[in-house]
């Protein structure tokens, strides 16, 4: 049973009633970024009009107000992720910056020559490159968990990859290409048995499934605001207090210090130690607004509804001759990658665009995965709770037309 009222929800997202090439926009590129509800945009506007003053250092009224809003936003994020400790929430520019922060600071504190980092074959470039940079810097090795033909990680191999040289595991909660929901809770348990911490890249998970960092027992969990109906340029690093206290700051500057002399600087406490410079307090409050919107709609209701949409779209896609779905894991989020015969994904994407349908094509910033699959890329349709079955019908109709033109 779903309680999602798409009509009501769509009214909250003004962009969804726009026309593209004179056709109603059908937005199926939610894996790349999501659209924003009016309340989020209004929060940004209101922030700049009525709440703008630099935080944490002003004695004046507005600064106090802005500081309260920023810290309230931190509390909202903490509640959303299920941690009782708000100082475990660090605001970053996004998932990418959060991973880079951990790769740098954790690397400085705990890694040395010969050590190993474990990632998976289905990682986004942002969960590959920072670790490669660390490996280069420290002369370490990157080990990669393979997957089966359905796009599920080989957990037995993962277990074998873990050894006394493994310093950290960093893995996607949900694959941005295949939609696979990885069994991160089990993987964390396995790693913890060997005292290895785990970072979970939740960029594709938080908008779609319930995440509880305590239940997962994740050591680090990261996500981006813009993929969960919030603004661009703001994201979150959750880290267990013991780890965040044990690693050095990532960037130096204002806000992150306790005392500064030319001889020595002592660092501020958590979370400020990792928030050098003026934080994006407008972004953080708008992100909190987005999270509240999601909570109000109901994350389980969203998950159920999107699951229904994904099943329906999969079923309808398979009506089309020579369609190949890339990623058929048992546990899947609302992402469908596909190919049709030998048609290049770029051609399908360009023609769908002309019919008002936004999908993503290409390698989706996961080149190693696409190379492993031996394909030129995929067409990816990714759904959000404001999408409808009717849109899927229109998409299938358009796809049939496009395929006929290209065959």
């Amino acid at each position: 049973m779903n309680t999602i009222n798409t009509e009501q929800i769509r009214a909250d997202f003004p962009i969804l009633s726009e026309k593209i090439y004179n056709k109603p926009l059908i937005y199926f590129d939610n894996g790349a970024t999501t659209q924003k509800p009016q309340c989020v945009v209004e929060r940004i506007e209101n922030g700049y009009y009525h709440l703008n003053a630099n935080i944490h250092r002003g004695v004046h009224f507005l600064s106090q107000k802005a500081t309260e809003a920023h810290e309230a936003a931190r509390q909202t994020v903490a509640d959303f992720l299920g941690t009782p400790r708000r100082e475990e929430i660090i605001f970053t520019r996004g998932t990418t910056e959060a991973i880079n922060l951990v790769a740098f600071s954790f690397g400085e504190a705990f890694c040395s020559e010969g050590d190993e980092i474990v990632i998976s074959v289905m990682e986004h470039h942002s969960n590959i490159v920072p670790w490669q940079m660390l490996c280069e810097r420290k002369k370490m090795k990157l080990r990669v968990i393979p997957m089966n033909e359905k796009g599920e990680l080989e957990i037995a191999v993962f277990q074998q990859l873990l050894n006394e040289r493994t310093k950290l595991v960093s893995v996607a909660h949900v694959s941005n290409v295949l939609g696979t929901i990885n069994p991160v809770k089990d993987m964390i348990q396995m790693a913890h048995r060997m005292n290895i911490p785990v970072l979970v890249d939740g960029a594709q998970a938080v908008p779609h499934i319930r995440v509880d960092v305590l239940d997962l027992d994740a050591d680090f969990y990261v996500f981006s605001g813009h993929k969960i109906y919030g603004p661009t340029g703001i994201g979150v690093l959750y880290g267990k207090e013991k780890w965040l206290n044990a690693i050095p700051p990532y960037q130096g500057g204002g806000e992150m210090i306790s005392t500064v002399t030319f001889e020595k600087t002592t660092y501020n406490e958590l979370p400020y130690k990792f928030e050098a410079g003026t934080p994006d307090y407008i972004g953080s409050t708008a992100l909190a607004e987005a999270l509240k919107y999601v909570l109000k709609t109901g994350i389980d209701q969203i998950a159920d509804y999107e699951h229904e949409l994904t099943d329906y779209a999969t079923e309808r896609l398979l009506e089309i001759e020579n369609v190949r779905i890339i990623g058929t894991a048992k546990e899947k989020s609302s992402v469908i990658s596909f190919l049709v015969g030998n048609i290049h994904p770029y051609d399908i994407g360009m023609l769908l665009d002309k019919l008002g349908i936004a999908v993503r094509t290409g390698h989706h910033c996961a080149q190693p995965l696409i190379d492993t699959l031996g394909i030129p890329g995929t067409v990816r349709a990714s759904f959000a709770f404001y999408n409808t079955k009717k849109e899927i019908d229109l998409f299938i109709e358009a796809l049939k037309r496009v395929v006929e033109m290209l065959s």
Binding site: Y21, I343, H344, P345, Y346, D347, M350, L351, K354, L355, T361, G362, H363, P376, G377, R401, M405, L406
Partner: protein, 140 residues
């Protein structure tokens, strides 16, 4: 025909269609009619790697005239490659270097050449001019 005349002819051909899908149907036809590149030229050196699709390009000069061969794995890109070759092939390096390419913009397919599209076409146009420049230098 001059580079200008060929471009004008293409613009004329596309101007009969208002609907995007008709324009793209013509582009697909052009892509299908592109003579396949000689397998021996489909080398890693001749590949222009784009984010989305790949383009191969080869150029030769005989008696002062440059001819290009090209291909792509995406049919729409191939259609544009076919037009670029039609426009640029069969001219002297000077003619190729002196003339602006305005037809893609005029037929409304500029988005394929936008740098953010990264389908290898921007790099291809640059590479075509580079070949002309290299042949010119060689001639002198």
């Amino acid at each position: 025909m001059t580079i200008r005349e060929i471009q004008d002819e293409i613009i004329e051909e596309f101007s009969q269609f208002d609907d995007w899908m008709d324009k793209y149907a013509l582009l697909i036809d052009l892509g299908n009619s592109l003579e396949p590149i000689d397998e021996k030229y489909k080398t890693p050196q001749n590949i222009i790697e784009g984010c989305q699709s790949r383009v191969w390009l080869n150029a030769e000069m005989n008696n002062g005239i440059v001819t290009y061969q090209g291909e792509s794995d995406a049919i729409l890109v191939k259609g544009i490659v076919s037009m670029l070759i039609k426009v640029m092939s069969g001219h002297t390096p000077d003619e190729i270097l002196e003339n602006d390419l305005y037809f893609i913009d005029r037929i409304g397919l500029k988005e394929h050449l936008s740098p953010t599209r990264s389908n290898g076409l921007v790099a291809m146009v640059k590479q075509m001019k580079m070949y002309a420049l290299a042949f010119k230098a060689k001639n002198n």
